[in-house]
Symmetry: C2
Subunit: 202 residues, 2 copies
């Protein structure tokens, strides 16, 4: 097994943290965007989207999309469980993971893509869209704060992939000025709790 | 079990088609947006996001997010399998489902939300964003066309949730002018194949 990695990508980080939480040692190949290798015919055979991360199995089969890679690893290496242990737990974690992805990570990524000079010339940027995305992300912090009341983790009583996704999301949020307010005590305590894990810098 | 449904929603349709493919008969309650019930404290307890669909279990537990509902149903009613039968199949289907969601459904939904009069006053609209979304969706049809070469279905040799997601996505695409060209023969044959299933109108 081998992971094609992009250190700066919040999606690749999700997979690295997942791997670290599983205690796995999967070799990584860091892709240097400057070489254009990710757009080469060789790499596009691994992932037609030309993106990272990609997990390559020993027989050359490749899996892309961060969450799909995690689903695979969870089945092959079930301990410790990060995606639930019963059908209801698994569905609940999936639900929270998607809420974080769709309503918090998506607007933060869009604010970055449409507002950051790094993306100029790579993607068509609509500056007017940026404050709308930031506003939507801030609204999502409100339901996250409410939902974390009396809870240690986002989806269930234990640390899960939904927490990993939210950690990577809030790290990315800092780059576009989305961060919890001092009043959002539940998010702030959760943040202290999850970032004190040894895997938080994976 | 009961499904809180919104007939016009492409996400609710994904769940209805999934249920129909499983041959299940789950009672549905159609939510009328005009009544505002989906924003009432009672409904927000079922789904803090105030959206449909929501699956309510007999003990009152609720699951929201279309894909999470399907994950739950797949485990409880495994036949016929729509999300794969081995770890690799499941990861492959998850990968394709996400590619369709993130790179085809998302831009189509954004084109609709930012361009359709229905959303005026509900969401801040950025007209300039619409053609970018349409263009991105059309680019995604290109990799979909390439990927369907020599294949009957999107993710594996059998019909899966990735096909369901793509069907609902292309139906929605018509509303914003995103549709395969005549030259995209693989997508067109796939479309004929999947829309001839009795569940296609669920």
């Amino acid at each position: 097994m081998k992971l094609y990695d992009l250190p700066a990508s919040p999606n690749a980080r999700r997979v690295r943290m997942f791997i670290a939480e599983k205690g796995l040692d999967i070799p990584k190949e860091e892709i240097d965007l400057a070489t254009g290798y990710h757009k080469s015919p060789e790499y596009l055979k691994k992932n037609i989207m030309g993106r990272m991360p990609v997990l390559e199995l020993d027989d050359g089969t490749t899996i892309s999309e961060s969450h799909a890679i995690c689903c695979y690893l969870e089945e092959i290496y079930p301990e410790p469980p990060l995606m639930g242990q019963t059908p209801l737990e698994r569905a609940t974690i999936e639900m929270w993971n998607r809420r974080i992805e769709l309503d918090l990570l998506n607007p933060i990524l869009n604010a970055f893509v449409h507002g950051h000079p790094m993306w100029k010339g790579i993607r068509e940027q609509v500056a007017e869209f940026v404050p709308i995305c930031v506003n939507n992300a801030n609204k999502s912090l409100e339901w996250l704060e409410t939902s974390l009341e009396g809870r240690d983790y986002i989806a269930t009583d234990t640390y899960s992939i939904a927490d990993i996704t939210a950690q990577c999301t809030l790290l990315m949020g800092k780059a576009v000025g989305v961060r919890p307010t001092e009043q959002q005590k539940n998010i702030n305590s959760w943040w202290e709790r999850v970032t004190s894990r040894p895997t938080a810098r994976a």
